[in-house]
């Protein structure tokens, strides 16, 4: 036993050890950090050199001061910092995202199965995409009210089209031999859906989710402007801009970008995991 252990240890010693700087992900992070610090330094120097006022473009030091005030100095009770407001916007975006995904898939399947419904429904869906959400929001708000439900409705309206189109296209392009084979077993509609249609849709839905994650956040922020929602980062950016608190606008925008990026990374990892493990929709 001891001899075996010794041999194993010797083998381990022989193996080339990874140096800290050879680790790709650490190297990548260091490069990003270096680039960020360089960019911030150039930015600071340029603004100071040309003496550009804060209301036009804040310096990194202004942004840093704002972050310190916003997150590290105690505020009055009931004060919501921009992170909390962003999370409220994210919550609404997530809700809209989920509804769009489920409802869009259902509509996509229905219009794939029934060309009559497709010919009636599709022009309306397409029309909703031609009108920008901020223009549509007041009309919807007068009909449904100025609150939460209108916001969710508008996010869904903004996101659903891409889901419907990609679901329908995937189903139309299913390899014919698979549909014929399933037909030969005389399945019910439910079984056809369970054994072929839904598994085939998984990769499409996962990649559409990546599109939706930024789309739903954008929609959530845009729809806050014309509506009277109390919490949300979109409304906060709008008010901060009106009150000329430009560093707040900048930091809020950066925060949204970071949240969108994290959301996107999570969905990408999830997509990779599901596609690798289950291989749904791979023909």
């Amino acid at each position: 036993m001891n001899a075996l252990r010794k041999e194993k240890n010797k083998e381990r010693e022989k193996r080339p050890t990874r140096s800290f700087f050879l680790n790709k992900s650490i190297k990548k992070i260091l490069i990003y950090l270096f680039l960020l610090i360089t960019l911030l330094t150039i930015w600071q120097i340029l603004l100071e050199y040309f003496d550009i006022p804060k209301r036009i473009a804040p310096k990194p030091s202004d942004l840093f001061n704002f972050i310190t005030k916003e997150f590290f100095i105690p505020h009055s009770q009931g004060y919501q910092n921009i992170l909390v407001k962003s999370l409220f916007s994210l919550r609404d975006a997530l809700l809209g995202f989920l509804i769009s995904l489920i409802l869009g898939s259902l509509i996509g399947i229905v219009i794939f199965k029934n060309t009559y419904i497709y010919s009636i429904l599709f022009p309306f869906l397409f029309l909703t995409q031609l009108i920008p959400v901020p223009a549509l929001a007041p009309i919807v708000a007068t009909l449904l009210g100025y609150g939460f439900f209108t916001k969710i409705f508008l996010i869904v309206l903004f996101c659903i089209f891409s889901v419907v189109v990609s679901v329908r296209n995937t189903l139309i392009n299913l390899p014919e031999n698979y549909t014929l084979l399933l037909h030969s077993y005389s399945p019910s509609r439910k079984e056809f859906l369970k054994y072929l249609l839904l598994p085939s849709l998984v990769p499409t839905l996962l990649s559409t989710m990546k599109l939706l994650c930024s789309g739903s956040i954008v929609a959530s922020i845009i729809t806050e402007l014309p509506l009277s929602v109390k919490t949300g980062i979109g409304k906060d950016i709008y008010n901060s801009f009106n009150n000329q608190i430009i560093p707040r606008v900048w930091v809020s925008t950066m925060l949204i970008s970071i949240i969108s990026l994290l959301f996107f990374i999570c969905i990408s990892k999830f997509e990779k995991y599901i596609n690798k493990k289950y291989r749904y929709g791979q023909f």
């Binding site: 390899p175 698979y178 014929l180 084979l181 037909h183 030969s184 054994y195 598994p199 749904y280 791979q282």
Partner: protein, 262 residues
Amino acid sequence: MDNSKAITVENFNVLFNGDRTKHLHVLENISFDVKNSSFVSIIGPSGCGKSTLFRLISGLPTKDSCEIGGKIRIYGRKPETASKNRDLGLILQKPTLLEWRTVAENIELPLEIMGYQKEKRGKIVTKLLNSMDLTPYSHYRPSELSGGMQQKVSIGRALAYNPKLLLMDEPFAALDEVNRRRMNNEIINIWKEMNKTILFVTHNIQEAVYLSQKVIVLSKKPSTVYKTVEIDLKYPRNEVEGCSKYFKYIKEIREYLNEASN
């Protein structure tokens, strides 16, 4: 109902009325029988409508622009009814396996759809995996298998619910010569041991002669039954493969095919 006949095709006509293919007569007065427990091949020039005929015999949905005349009966029933009655099993040109299911789960698929109990499903799948030497691969994904093995799984899947008739549409077309011959022998064994009726569509003359008791030669479009050749050779065919009679059949069918293509 004549129980000795598995398939009856009588004066069967198919006309396509598509935008580009106006009044394209694909099949014209096709008539033939396939006896119960026999092995029959259909051979014809490329694009003569073999696959259309296969699809209609299988009871699969046709295009809206397709006009059909005449009749097809599978054990005295319409193909759609026979399909619902689990009388026929399909083996397509491509293995058509679901990548998100393992080999065992792919074989289990028709049983699941047809509502078999889980325990019974398990027994059938285990038996099939054993008889087809697929047990070591039961947990493999289809893409991890070779083309021949994938087609073997698709044959196993078609056999799972024990249909009386197997319809095969050029199932070994994509295989190399060695694997094709191996699969030909396997399918002959299945046919003999399980007492199935097989209708085999191919464009390979040697394969048709090697496998079948009867070869139906179709002409070019509009396709008709040009000739029917009875193959009077003993099984196993690998023992008679080198004999002059075997080559005579190949030559005869090749000549018919040449004539039918002109």
